[in-house]
């Protein structure tokens, strides 16, 4: 036993390449695998977006089948293969154990397994794009009967089955990750780290994992039913003469998952923003408790709002009003969270680093995204806005902010911790500004298209007389989108260059941040803490507390591990 302790400091013994980088059980390596895979899928999803965006500016660039397949895959990839793996799998894996002072997640083998299931799901998704019969092109929401009888309506049977299979595997992988996160965060916190001292990011990850667990599971049942429809010809969702099926049931199951799913990726993003903003504005969160309670309340409410995606989709009109009320209600915890976020800047000493710039822009975009949700949640105006570009623009203002702006803020912030190297700051600032400008150039005109009544998922706006005059808006959006993607590609080059050849970061805590992960060396070794163990003494955001020179107090300190009193354990 005492030998184990002695060797714990230098626990880096030689491992084969496979063991260390591919089939690693180390939470940081798995997190990086998720991050890199997510980025690779983001390149794919972004490229698809640019291709069909060009088609919108110049109809005829793609065929209409291609266009709808690209739109479908873009949506699915960005949600399930980019935002979720990066924010939950990537940041969650790397940061949760470090932030709570654990040595690894609760189930390291399950964690590794979860990544490889995810990887297989990505491969199947890409295969499904190229199978004979064509890729699935029925929209990422997979609405039946279009998806329940793909042979007849889309001509893509195998593609649809593989698409659903990939989706199911991705869900399974994220479920495994969620079980890990919940268990780790609840049982492996360092001494003194009570629940109300957890960094907000950890809270957000736990709430997100719980939401995912309880929302995706009914959809898995629904997916089984849909697969039976496609393969065995049952009619859960299919409607044929004399046979009763109900396409609306799928919509219920899907959106019962779909709305919490948005918060599954939103919450970790908010968590990242709070960590970043407190660090660079040197102020504690304006009201820690309010943020935590708001997240829990919003999480619970998110299970009661799903039918606002179906206001005009054949649900009982009276229940639509009830869902409208809950939808409008859910804006209240979020407006509180955003006000708290804004007041976290106040009174600070704000450093405009790249991470902070991205966080500020993300904050501003969340304001637009959140406010633009109101006309959609109000059932009266949703009659008009439902399934128009207004919806598309609204969720791009939230989801792009989550998956790109917040993620890049997090990458810039934790880059030294993850890789032990620096990423160029001047470049980062230029990148942030360009992203902000091009993004708004691309997205904001969408609100006007929505007001003009432009339905979403149109291959071309030229077919309709009342839309023809807005073709120039599509052209403007396309130009901005191309520039936006170019900017991100340049960033990725800098990102990968800096991983291997950036300037080394010697200090474990370059940003003078408080939370536990900054106590570990950069990058943290396997099992994180060596022969030390972190002990937490205070809350997570003790900025602006201690005179003028050192304006922060770390959340805890490292203490040398005690020698075991006896080896009386029996196994």
């Amino acid at each position: 036993m005492s030998e184990a302790v002695a060797s714990a400091g230098a626990i880096h013994h030689e491992e084969s390449f496979l063991r260390k980088y591919l089939f690693s059980k180390d939470h940081k390596t798995i997190g990086k695998q998720y991050l890199i895979t997510g980025i690779a899928m983001a390149i794919l999803g972004g490229t698809l977006a640019i291709l069909f965006r060009i088609n919108l500016a110049h109809p005829g660039f793609l065929t209409n089948e291609q266009y709808y397949a690209f739109v479908t895959y873009h949506g699915a990839i960005m949600f399930f293969w980019v935002a979720m793996p990066i924010l939950l799998g990537g940041f969650g894996n790397i940061l949760i154990p470090l932030m709570i002072g654990a040595r690894d997640v609760a189930f390291p083998t399950l964690n590794m397994f979860s990544y490889w299931v995810f990887f297989v799901s990505s491969v199947i998704l890409i295969i499904s794009f190229f199978v004979p019969g064509g890729a699935f092109s029925g929209g990422w929401t997979v609405y039946p009967p279009l998806s329940a009888d793909p042979e007849r309506y889309l001509g893509a049977n195998l593609g649809t089955v593989l698409f659903l299979l990939a989706l199911a595997l991705e869900f399974a992988s994220m479920l495994m990750g969620g079980v890990n996160f919940i268990t780790t965060a609840l049982t492996m916190r360092a001494k003194g780290l009570t629940l109300m001292r957890l960094p907000i990011f950890v809270w957000m990850e736990v709430v997100a994992s719980l939401l995912f667990l309880f929302s995706v599971t009914p959809l898995i049942a629904g997916a089984v039913m849909l697969l039976l429809d496609i393969i065995l010809g049952t009619h859960f969702f299919r409607v044929e003469a004399g046979k009763v099926g109900d396409p609306v049931l799928w919509q219920h199951l899907f959106w019962f998952f779909g709305h919490p799913e948005v918060y599954v990726i939103l919450f970790p993003a908010l968590g990242i923003l709070f960590e970043v903003i407190t660090t660079y504005s040197r102020r504690p969160v304006f009201s820690y408790k309010l943020v935590v309670y708001a997240a829990i309340v919003a999480g619970i409410l998110s299970f009661l709002v799903w039918a606002h995606h179906q206001f005009v989709a054949g649900i009982n009109p009276l229940s639509a009003t009830a869902f409208s009320v809950t939808t409008i209600l859910i804006s209240i915890p979020f407006s509180m969270t955003l006000v708290v976020m804004g007041l976290t800047f106040a009174g600070g000493s704000i450093r405009f680093t790249p991470a902070m710039l991205f966080a500020i822009f993300a904050f501003l975009m969340f304001i637009i995204g959140g406010l633009s949700g109101l006309p959609l949640g109000a059932v009266g105006s949703d009659i008009y806005f439902h399934d128009t570009y207004f919806v598309v623009t609204h969720f791009h203002y939230t989801v792009f902010t989550i998956a790109v702006l917040s993620t890049i803020a997090g990458i810039c912030h934790w880059f030294p911790k993850m890789f032990g190297r620096k990423i160029n700051e001047t470049f980062g600032k230029i990148h942030a500004w360009l992203t902000f400008i091009f993004y708004n150039g691309f997205a904001f005109p969408g609100f006007f298209l929505g007001l003009a009544g432009h339905p979403r998922r149109y291959y071309s706006a030229l077919e309709f007389g009342y839309l023809q005059k807005y073709q120039w808006v599509h052209e403007l959006m396309t130009v901005s989108a191309v520039l936006l993607l170019t900017t991100q590609v340049v960033f990725l080059f800098v990102f990968f260059y800096s991983i291997f050849a950036g300037a080394e970061e010697k200090s474990p805590n370059p940003w003078k941040s408080t939370t536990l992960e900054w106590l570990a060396p950069s990058p943290p070794p396997h099992l994180n803490w060596g022969s030390f163990a972190p002990v937490v003494e205070r809350g997570p955001y003790e900025y602006a507390r201690n005179g003028k020179d050192i304006d922060y107090l770390p959340q805890g300190k490292l203490v040398k591990l005690k020698q075991p009193a006896s080896s009386g354990h029996e196994h």
Partner: protein
């Protein structure tokens, strides 16, 4: 930005749209202003050390939350009003009200199919299931100032029946029948769009709503046999009928 409203009651929806858009624009601009003020005031070059507390003046920003709650309540009230008017009241009740007020109405059936709108008319007698029923593709002809009751259903997959100019949209669902009601008050030719992805030609699933003056409408109804009339278009005030396979 909004397309012209040609219906009697579209203003109810427009009211919600205008209220919500103006509300969020004002709240958004105020929030942005406050954020920029905070960022400018507390930048590191000017304020090298953080304050130990948020200035009490800024704490009043929390008022935004209350503003939002009040705005939410007003918006809910106005929007639910419009919703009740269009969709919650049973269509039989609306019909009865219309008859009591002495207004005229017509009924049509619309069946969404990949990728066209099949419109069924009850003919001159106004009753379905009689010899003078007829069908037109992608063409919904209605008289000006009449109440129009539309029965929607789908022949294959989901569609969504969307007429921007009358502010009406509803999904078309196989195995179900949906009722819509609107009252056009301006003569002209307007477009019907499909707003729910229904396959590769979704973007071309275009129909026309043609609103005719009452006498023109009656004249059009008279000009049997209907199966030969496949298209109606307007040139200024003049209505032209095209006979035989001109239709796409």
């Amino acid at each position: 930005m909004l397309p012209e409203d040609i219906s009697q009651y579209g203003y109810l929806v427009d009211r919600v749209i205008k209220l919500s858009i103006w509300g969020i624009v004002i709240v958004g601009i105020i929030s942005f202003f406050i954020v920029f003020y905070i960022l400018y005031k507390f930048r590191r070059t000017k304020n090298p050390f953080p304050l130990s507390d948020v200035p009490s003046g800024l704490k009043k920003v929390v008022v935004i939350d209350y503003v939002m709650i009040i705005f939410d309540l007003i918006l809910l009230f106005v929007s639910t009003w419009a919703w009740f008017f269009f969709f919650v009241r049973p269509v039989e009740k609306i019909k009865k009200e219309v008859q009591e007020k002495g207004e005229k109405f017509v009924e049509v059936r619309v069946i969404g199919r990949q990728f066209f709108w099949a419109v069924e008319y009850p003919g001159k007698d106004g009753v379905f299931g009689t010899y003078d029923d007829f069908k037109l593709g992608n063409l919904l002809v209605v008289p000006e100032g009449y109440n129009v009751f539309v029965k929607l259903t789908s022949g294959d997959v989901l569609h969504s029946f969307f007429i921007p100019n009358v502010r009406i949209k509803y999904d078309v669902i196989p195995g179900r029948e949906t009722h819509l009601w609107f009252k056009p008050v301006k003569v002209g030719k307007y477009e019907i769009a499909c707003a729910e992805l229904c396959g590769a030609m979704h973007y071309r699933m275009k129909g026309y709503l043609v609103v005719l003056k009452e006498q023109d409408y009656l004249k059009w109804l008279d000009s049997a046999p209907f199966s030969e009339i496949s298209f109606v278009y307007l040139e200024g005030d003049k209505i032209n009928f095209v006979r035989g396979g001109e239709m796409r």
